[in-house]
Symmetry: C2
Subunit: 429 residues, 2 copies
């Protein structure tokens, strides 16, 4: 019996690693005053239809009918769920809302580097503020998380853009058509260059537009700002983006304008960004996010400005490993193994274990005498224990107890009554 | 747009509660030397077929075909997954294995008190030891978790039994028939008494067996031990069970033999137990578990003895609330809100926030001047903040800063340079 394709079993080692990754994310979000929330695994399918991404809903979503013939889907992303939750309790909630969640998602994709069918993602959102200072805060959190893993700013690059600049520059007013254009532009770094050129050729209404579409990728933010093609909205967007950029620079966060960033989701309305690993074999973006000011209006009754990002565990793990940022401390031996020396002392071993646990010491108890004591040391070592506590007839008589330190390879005898204190202090070294 | 029926949104308040519940479970399992693991959300459907429970697989499982026509299911329980995982890495793992996991599951059930479609469950398992001392350890953990929430032993009752005693006493050797009998006996406390009697009537081969089936529920363990009907296996099981009982009693854990406990899963082979809330409106069992020595052989190549339990979050929450065991500290005001007083000081506010966060203080920053300062105090209070930090032109000139304690309603001015230290110490009170 195998694990379902594209999913992972988390054995204790992998589980520890994952919890460590999450703990850093929780720490940073909490410091920024963000509160944790969570949504159900299943949502009604129509939550995603025409709100999320055509690519996901048509090609990647796990949807089916439940036994009551309701069309449901396993969540492929968090943003529609948070929008639904806020809509449901809009009147009770105090805005601005600062929320984060860490949850599992599923997409039917071809598994590969940085991409699996089941993945975990941190989602961090700031809802209720339309000013660029909210975008600045969200970007600070995203970068602070990477820094908190010990990454330096040269390990990753942060690109940003704004779809309004593209729609204005390309002079596409029809939203449906613009969404189609976005979907093609999004492919630029993901598919073969000739295939991309062919798609642009088919998409463009004329040669002029085709040229314009290609030219985008070489333009700086200043080039767009200087362009006579930008309308009022485009000019405002580019000015906001420029402010956003300098505000972050001032605070010590380096980001780069990158017009090739368009993001796959339909709901983005303003600033969008992606964080990439500088290691080129880690091609999938680490973090992606942006402003979605109209999604709440599509799900609820009124638009509420919102900005946020997602950080997936698969590409994050690749990033951390490529840059040697994984902590060694996760695999350091710890805790106590109580050896089983004599059947007659079985009750004593249970008492001992209870005493140690009450003292806050992780204690695993051998429940059967399997072979020599040396065999039990081996087991304890394989199970990554730090100490073996040995109590035999010999020790009982003298009111003593033996402790073997499996790392130092030393064995000492101490008075029975000082065991807990001894291990509490030893554990701190 | 609604939440899918039988599932829950976890807003920050509910999320904090849930994390608190899990943290106690993690603490106890870790003290016993158990390591956390996790399995994928989806498994191939055949992992459950003929191994789990007919009721679940036929009536409650969320199964469907993926886009590649593979039959998959959302996990309805953890035990088959842990068995599969151990089978996959059997040669690399060091036995005995002590593992726990906290994960979400789905079952298509009619939502009601203590029962939802999506629920979370702690699973704790000890794999590789066949002796009753392993059953004892598992039971100690289950009870220690409830005690760690502050529950007293009079708040719940622990019933235990062993299916081998029933099969022996009822003299049913055919496994398939015995499973059918178990499924009916399991209904005894769940359905109307007349309906139950009718089902027993239809199930029994003759009047004698029917009588025997009814008599079971009034028998003590000693009655079974004295019965001449028990065969060799039944006698051994009842002796082990008696040892198990006295071993726990000796250690201060009170449990009660209860022949009405049969458990719904097919894979149990020995001791089985359930923990019930003494509050009668909380009818669903809190904890259920037992020994499953043959499941690993059904999934892998060889039998490996195993014992474990599951603890669901829905009935646990009912239990904790019925017995007033929920901590108030989860809703105590905490953290800092930085007021937005003047546009000119925007940069200062960002600096201030960064400084506080570096000092480990949860800091939420107002990003816009919305109305009077009093309005911002209201927002901070609604968001359950403890302090508001106020920096205006006035304070800047004097190198001072104002702090409003929202709980005590006091406002004080302190030197700008001592802010972090002041709040770090204040936070400890």
């Amino acid at each position: 019996m195998q694990t379902y394709i594209g999913t992972r079993d988390f054995f204790p080692k992998e589980s520890r690693y994952r919890e460590w990754m999450f703990s850093i994310q929780r720490k940073v979000c909490t410091l920024y005053g963000y509160e944790e929330y969570s949504s159900p695994l299943l949502e009604y399918l129509d939550l995603y239809q025409s709100k999320s991404s055509e690519e996901i809903v048509d090609g990647q979503i796990y949807s089916f009918e439940d036994r009551g013939k309701r069309k449901v889907a396993i969540r492929p992303e968090m943003t529609p769920s948070i929008a639904r939750m806020i809509h449901l309790k809009e009147r009770e909630l105090t805005f601005p809302i600062r929320w984060y969640s860490i949850a599992n998602f599923m997409r039917y994709e071809r598994p590969g580097r940085g991409r699996l069918r089941e993945f975990f993602q941190l989602n961090t959102d700031l809802v209720g503020i339309s000013s660029p200072s909210a975008d600045v805060e969200i970007m600070m959190i995203a970068i602070d998380i990477l820094r908190s893993y010990g990454a330096s700013d040269t390990d990753f690059k942060v690109g940003f853009s704004d779809r309004r600049i593209l729609s204005s520059y390309l002079q596409i007013e029809n939203e449906e058509r613009f969404r189609r254009v976005i979907r093609v532009l999004d492919k630029r770094n993901k598919i073969d260059q000739n295939d991309f050129a062919q798609m642009i050729h088919e998409l463009a209404v004329d040669v002029q537009e085709e040229k314009k579409m290609h030219s985008i990728f070489d333009m700086e933010l200043e080039d767009f700002m200087r362009s006579s093609l930008l309308d009022q909205e485009g000019r405002q967007a580019s000015q906001e983006l420029s402010q956003f950029n300098s505000s972050l620079k001032e605070k010590g966060y380096k980001i780069q304008f990158d017009p090739s960033i368009v993001r796959g989701f339909d709901y983005y309305t303003g600033m969008i960004f992606e964080v990439y690993d500088k290691v080129s074999s880690n091609r999938r973006s680490l973090i992606g996010g942006g402003r979605y000011d109209r999604l709440l209006g599509m799900i609820g009754k009124r638009d509420i400005p919102a900005v946020g990002f997602g950080l997936g565990d698969v590409s994050l793990e690749n990033f951390l490993q490529s840059h040697h940022l994984s902590p060694v401390s996760l695999e350091e031996p710890q805790g106590v193994w109580i050896a089983f020396v004599s059947e007659l002392l079985e009750k004593e071993y249970f008492h001992l274990a209870t005493e140690l646990r009450k003292g806050g010491i992780q204690t695993e108890q051998s429940l059967q005498a399997k072979g020599r004591l040396g065999k039990q040391f081996e087991t304890a070592q394989k199970k990554n224990k730090r100490y073996v506590v040995i109590l035999g007839e010999d020790e009982i008589g003298k009111n003593e107890i033996s402790i073997k330190d499996l790392v130092r390879g030393e064995q000492t005898k101490i008075p029975r009554s000082s065991l807990v204190e001894y291990l509490q202090n030893a554990d701190r070294n």
